[in-house]
Amino acid sequence: MDQVLLPRSLKRFGFQSGHFLVLGAFVVFTALPFAWMLITAFKQNTDLYNPMNNPFWFNEPPTLDQWRYVFTKTMYARWLLNTAFVGVMVVGITLLLAIPAGYSLARFLGRWGEQLGIGIFLVYLIPPTLLFIPMARVVTALGLQNTLWSLVVTYPTITIPFSTWLLMGFFKSIPRDLEEAALVDGYSRLGAFLKIVLPLAVPGIITVVIFSFTLSAQEFVYALTFVTATAQKTVSIGVPSDMVRGDIFDWGPLMGSAFLASVPVAILYYFVLDRFVSGFTAAGAIR
């Protein structure tokens, strides 16, 4: 009843501040661990390990010691390079296999292609935790245990299905007439694909590149299972397993390295999120 009597602007103000309060609470929840990582990475140990100190502020001057430790006393830089290498290789394999597959499903296989497309998408839902034990055997049989190649070979089993599905949707959205016009103009099938279709599918291809790369950087289970040599680790397992000496956690370096590896991946992912999400919502609304 009171609300009705409130001036409209005041009501609006109340609604707006409520809106920002809700958003603010959520942002604190989602971003807090990263903020805490960032602060920790610039604190001195004596500041960190004093339970009386306000953890949200610098009770002693900030320091770069934690970062010096990360880059001189650990193999962090190597892990970053390893991650980049695996990511690039996985992107390459994924593009090489998923582009033709997606195109084939969208154009040539008709009704049958749609069923197959859904089937391939469902393969994406098969988690590493279901297959890691037999996969470890396969990796050993291929002689790839403890090498980055074990990851280069296994990650496409996750990236190809989702990428094929995503690209299938992209190719379908490109009008068939464009290719047919090109064929009439004397282009070959391949020529029409390379000159007409592929340029139009660039946004989809960028999505696949970023998806495959970030997945390679995020994956944990296969990496933990196949790679135990410190020098061959990727960031996502190197930091949690090799920056801890026995029971001693070096929180400063740990937080710094976790933050530094998370944020670029997050930024990359952020740019393709819309298209990534449409891959999921499309799966719930297959025509």
Binding site: S188, V277, G284
Partner: protein, 309 residues
């Protein structure tokens, strides 16, 4: 590009377009198909085989022991606890995620200044590598330097110098694991719900408002029913991701204290890879499969229902 012309010129000689498509279609999909058959299909069959043997890391020449691994596993209290935990973690986190995601998606459906950065901060948990993000939580739940404890002490809810020992007590450790799962999946569900929310025709809501329907009535009688398919999508995928996740439990608690937060995937890892008992590990992993299959069937049925509408 230079190569493309001659090859296709040869291909096109005397062939009809239709025939070439029939060859080209399967040819283009074959590499991806083979890759998946060899590295997903085969390992899956191999998992079933392994689960019926006494294979260990040291003994590659395993003998067939039928369902003995499964019987042994089902009878072990640790496995039952892990099975129960997997469901408890998944269901409780998904319920919380959907409620929170709904609220958050509504809040994000309006336009305001700085929306881009807010969206980025909200997405962080989903887009950052989960093992690294969970290390952040490990530090938040630290036995002695937990910032939650510090806040509780500052607010006078905890005596000075006292600690909660978040990861040291079974009940609190379970809450910690659920919290991280909620934190991780919230952005994913929010973005999916947001996509659904923006696709609801504006004029339906406007008409309802003109007809005198208030905020809650519009929410429960228009928005939520129209969103139901999208909500289902978020729940189904969220369920799969949470149910099969190992990183959160592995990094946060290693299944402890005393196996009280163990889940199927982490238990399979500890038995199969750390303990070297491949047969038992494979058997435990396979318990994930029925749920995966069930959810996959639901996704397909949902797809069909949307198709009918």
């Amino acid at each position: 590009m230079a190569l493309a012309e001659p090859i296709s010129a040869v291909l096109s000689k005397g062939r009809h377009l239709f025939e070439r498509e029939r060859v080209l279609g399967p040819l283009l999909i074959a590499p991806a198909f083979l890759y998946i058959v060899l590295l997903v299909g085969f390992p899956f069959i191999f998992a079933i085989y392994l689960s019926m043997t006494d294979a260990t890391t040291g003994n590659p020449y395993a003998s067939f022991i039928g369902l003995q691994n499964f019987i042994e596993v089902v009878q072990s209290p640790v496995f039952r606890r892990a099975l129960k935990n997997t469901f408890v973690f998944t269901i409780s986190s998904q319920v919380l995620v959907i409620v929170l995601a709904k609220i958050l998606a509504l809040a994000l459906s309006k336009n305001f200044r700085g929306k881009g950065i807010v969206l980025f901060l909200i997405l962080l948990p989903w887009v950052a590598p989960i093992s690294l993000a969970t290390i952040g939580w490990l530090w938040i739940f630290h036995a002695r330097f937990s910032i939650i404890d510090w806040i509780l002490r500052a607010a006078g809810l905890l005596p000075p110098n006292a600690n909660m020992f978040w990861l040291g007590r079974p009940d609190l450790a379970m809450i910690a694991v659920i919290t991280v799962h909620v934190w991780r999946m919230l952005p994913f569900s929010t973005v999916i719900l947001l996509a659904g929310l923006t696709s609801i025709p504006r004029d339906i809501l406007d008409q309802a408002e003109v007809d005198g329907a208030g905020f809650w009535r519009r929410l429960f009688q228009i928005t939520i029913p129209l969103l139901l398919p999208v909500i289902s999508v978020a729940i189904l995928f969220g369920t799969i991701f949470t149910f099969t996740d190992m990183a959160v439990v592995y990094v946060l608690t290693r299944g402890g204290p005393f196996d009280t937060t163990q889940v199927l995937s982490s238990l399979a890892f500890f038995k199969g890879i750390v303990g070297g008992n491949l047969g038992v590990g494979a058997a435990i992993s396979l318990f994930l499969f029925p749920v995966l299959l069930f959810v996959a069937v639901l996704i397909l049925r949902l797809a069909r229902r949307v198709e009918v509408v």
